[in-house]
């Protein structure tokens, strides 16, 4: 079976990076022995050295430890956000593509309106309406991504529906449900999976932004966006407080992004 192309070095590296962060989510204590929320007051604002690789913050907490525990805050929330987006988007987009032109037109109109609002603004609006907190922030980001998922999935399903093999299946007696289950879902799965991974990296950034603005988890939670916001006050004297959480954020987002590109790259053996 040749359904999946062999992994390139880029994909292997991306998966490796994500595996390290996965470990941080599951077993943070295996990677560090310090506590993420209580610090040692006399050790505050220490520059990176052998004892504290990424330095310490204003309360004497180890920045590396906070980044490790922070993975648990940001990454699952981003996953929840993206899943919300893809599920809602697939439902709306699929419904539009498979319904009568009137329904399609109405739903597409709604999608267009939502697409015209910048995603961050939409997420902010939702989180302000529903209340602050990590769960609300995640759902808000998910809702803000729904429109773009819906638009792409609608077009994908419509183009699949026009394929001769779909008509051939209908003519060999396959019903509407069978068409979706046997033909549209398997053929849509790969492109949508690639898109989801791509949007996951964007969700991480959006969530960090909401955290930075203070709409996510409250202090002292080691959330990456919040850490950057806190470090901003010490930017002139303690660069490590903003730089390392920022780098962590960039690394995950970039790894996911490259993985998505590798997944959606057209394969040569398919005509």
């Amino acid at each position: 079976m040749k359904r999946f192309a062999p992994l390139g070095p880029e994909s292997v590296l991306s998966i490796g990076v994500l595996a390290v962060f996965g470990l941080a989510i599951l077993f943070p204590s295996a990677l560090t022995h310090s506590d993420p929320t209580t610090g040692v007051a006399k050790d505050h604002l220490l520059a990176p050295d052998w004892a504290h690789w990424f330095g310490t913050d204003q309360l004497g907490r180890d920045v590396l430890t906070r980044i490790i525990y922070g993975a648990r805050e940001t990454l699952p929330a981003a996953l929840l956000a993206t899943l919300t987006g893809v599920v809602l988007g697939a439902f709306i987009g699929g419904l539009a593509a498979l319904s009568a032109p009137v329904v399609d037109g109405a739903l597409s109109g709604v999608i267009d309106v939502l697409l015209s609002i910048p995603e961050l603004l939409l997420a902010l609006t939702v989180v302000i309406l529903t209340g602050f907190g990590p769960l609300h922030a995640a759902l808000a980001v998910g809702i803000s991504q729904t429109a773009s998922f819906a638009r792409i999935i609608r077009n994908l399903v419509r183009s699949l529906r026009a394929m001769p093999y779909i008509e051939a299946a209908r003519l060999s007696g396959t019903g509407f449900g069978g068409m979706i289950w046997w033909h549209i879902l398997p053929n849509a799965f790969r492109p949508v999976l690639g898109l989801t991974v791509l949007r996951y990296s964007m969700a991480i950034l959006s969530l960090a932004t909401l955290g930075f603005l203070g709409y996510g988890a409250p202090p002292p939670t080691p959330e990456w966006g919040l850490m950057i916001a806190e470090g901003r006050d010490y930017l002139a004297t303690a660069w490590w407080m903003t730089t390392f959480p920022g780098l962590a954020l960039l690394t995950v987002a970039f790894a996911t992004n490259r993985l998505s590109h590798a997944m959606t790259r057209p394969r040569e053996d398919q005509p």
Binding site: E167, A168, S172, G175, P186
Partner: protein, 536 residues
Amino acid sequence: MNTQHPVLDISHLGISYDGKPAVENISLQTFPGRTMALIGESGSGKSTIAKAIIQLLPPSARLTHGTITLNGISLTDATPRGLNTIRGRQIGFIPQDPSSSLDPRLPVGRQIEEVLRLHTSQSRAERRGHVLHLLEHVGFSEPERRFSQFPHELSGGMKQRVLIAIAVALAPALLIADEPTSALDVTIQSQILDLLDRLREESGSSVLMITHDLAVARDRAHDMIVLQHGRIAEQNTTRSLFESPRSSYTRKLLADSPAFHSRPATPARFVSGMRPAIQVKDLTVAYGSQTAVSHLSFDVQPGTTHGIIGESGSGKTTLLRCLMGLISPQSGSVHVNGKDIFSETSAERRQRLRNMQLVYQNPWSSLDPRLTIRRIIEEPLRNYFPEGQAWRQTRLHELLERVHLPLHLLERYPSEISGGQCQRVALARALAAQPDILVLDEFVSALDVTVQARILELLSELQKELDLTFVFVSHDLAVVRQIADTLSIIRYGKQEEYGDAEQIFRKPASPYTQTLLQTIPGQKQNGNQPQKFLGS
């Protein structure tokens, strides 16, 4: 055999893709005023040779040995800058697909002018005059108007004329025509080939024509090279190649080409008094104000094949979709086994669709790329028959045997098998529903001639054994002639002719059919037969 200097001289050419040899030990020479045809099926390496001549091989290709010289200049050693002065100036290239070879955002006149701008020092006004002259030369009646038209305003044949104008603009010594008419209708095809012949005679260029179509080559080429798996199977003059082919592969190609032999007369299979399997009466289909099919009528007797011939835009696809009940007509009726298909209940419709299977043109796009061959053929079995897994397995093996496919293909995906095998899978899927009627839409058009011949044999065999009724839609008269008992010829949605196939081929009544039959390539007697033009 020729005392002149060769224009193009290829010697011992070898090219490999990623280490795998694509062409090996090719040597050929072309001479001024003569046409050399390079013949081969897909994968024979004919396009690779063409790309090697213009030195535009993809990066994965490597020239392993040999030389290519044009009028004494080595092309394999030329610098990129040197090649730019040769391409367009000394080598004209006519591409295969006219619709994708012109820039959609530039008027066609500008696109012809580009060659002149790059290779001559003519002033703007001189160039314009030259382009207008060229447009007239390739057969446009209103060059002024054509100059400023965009590609989408022109038909396929006209676009090919524009591309020819670009290729011949500077009277190059060598013209390479890569399948120049494969994308065109048969009547347009002969006009374009006539134009090429005329231009070659006037300018004395040497033409290298790359084609899969033996019939076209026979009509137009002086010399031929038959390629098989990247090697020369036979090199000969056209006359001796056809009169006494030396290689077994050439003999096989000749035997499989529908153009060179019509089917031995079959006993008339009409059984009068029987109820026709399909009865179309006065059918008219329109999209908005545009009539796609108007007042068409024909009967198909059970166990026979009805051929529908039409060029692109003739309405044959619309007719076929209407026949399947996928679109409704404005007026008229279609009866299948005596039942009107536009007033049936949904249960009757399901039953009819089982009994009447549509088989598609494109071998790959009609099979779901994410399903194995097993799943694809099983689909109608699951849908129409309540029997269990064991029964399905037996049926599956029976069906594969019917279409002569090996069992080990069952677990493959469509992208892993050949075009001919895909069409066999499509047939097996259609037969799985146990239909009486098969509607075949350009079923063999995308296949190589030897594969085509095997599929057509399979169709006749299936018809005989399973007593099937076929409706066979195609643009290719030679193919339809091999298989059809009765025939409809349609043009612009109107039925030009309808009746017994042999009768129509022998004594065509309508002028359009006469033109069609005359333009079938492969019937010129060594290029000396005077051509009559009838109709349009």
